[in-house]
């Protein structure tokens, strides 16, 4: 933006307003959608007992697959 444009906009009162114009509508909608998605994910995780409910730890898996020669 050139200095002339800025000066012209200032005369018209179009630019550089005293107050912050606020959060755009698309950001608000996006935030609501993201929040709803997060709530949905939390509900699904709790309903399913957590994503790790059927995944043993690495050590548990190693124990299970240990060769039998060690007995």
């Amino acid at each position: 933006m050139s200095i002339f444009t800025i000066a012209r906009n200032r005369r018209k009162g179009m630019d550089d307003p005293a107050r912050y114009p606020g959060t755009p509508r698309w950001v608000k909608l996006f935030s609501i959608a993201a929040g709803a998605m997060a709530v949905l994910v939390v509900i699904v995780l709790h309903a399913g007992g957590g994503l790790r409910h059927n995944m043993p730890s690495a050590s548990a898996l190693d124990d299970r697959t240990a060769p039998e020669g060690g007995r």
């Binding site: 200095i3 800025i6 000066a7 200032r10 630019d15 550089d16 912050y20 114009p21 959060t23 755009p24 698309w26 950001v27 996006f30 994503l51 059927n54 995944m55 690495a58 898996l61 697959t65």
Partner: protein
């Protein structure tokens, strides 16, 4: 604002676009393999798919995710867009950080599925459960990473409060 040379800026932009779009493609390939692992009736294919997915994740997806994040940071800090001035840049950053973090956490699950597939004694139920999770995560990852692409193309307007203050300050400094 740090000003970078036009040549360097173009190079950073090229690297950013390449890594971001490459990441999307790699996740799409990962999703295709995850679906194949879940639906294919041929046991040899199912057992081969998960180690291949682990390799794609470890050697393609993770490096591309961090390359996209790093080149994005360089790109935003080296141009007038900034990192915290525009909502679309900020949301892109948050989504990329979130997706990269989830990816790192889920590497354990991917390795687990690969180990299960390599075992001949493992039950198909465990592998199927892990496979379902991988399909869900890959599909969500793909959807989440499509948003930054859309934001980059459309660049919806909207300054953050910080960006607005910076713009005001620079306008005043030009006029005075």
């Amino acid at each position: 604002m740090a000003a970078t040379a036009p040549g360097l800026r173009k190079f950073a932009l090229t690297a950013h676009v390449t890594s971001s779009v490459g990441l999307l493609g790699a996740i799409a390939a990962f999703l295709a393999l995850a679906v194949a692992g879940l639906t294919d009736r041929e046991i040899l294919i199912v057992r081969a798919v998960y180690p291949a997915m682990e390799m794609i994740a470890r050697f393609v997806i993770v490096p591309l995710a961090f390359a996209a994040l790093l080149t994005g940071l360089i790109q935003s800090l080296g141009t007038p867009w900034g990192l915290f001035r525009h909502y679309w840049v900020l949301i892109k950053l948050l989504l990329t950080v979130f997706a990269s973090s989830v990816l790192l956490v889920k590497m354990e699950l991917i390795s687990y599925a690969a180990r299960l597939a390599a075992e001949t004694t493992s039950s198909d139920g465990d592998l199927r459960a892990a496979g379902i999770q991988l399909v869900v995560h890959a599909a969500f990852g793909l959807l989440i990473l499509l948003v930054p692409v859309i934001l980059s193309v459309y660049k919806p307007p909207g300054l953050t409060r910080y960006g607005w203050k910076k713009q005001r300050a620079s306008s005043h400094s030009i006029l005075t």
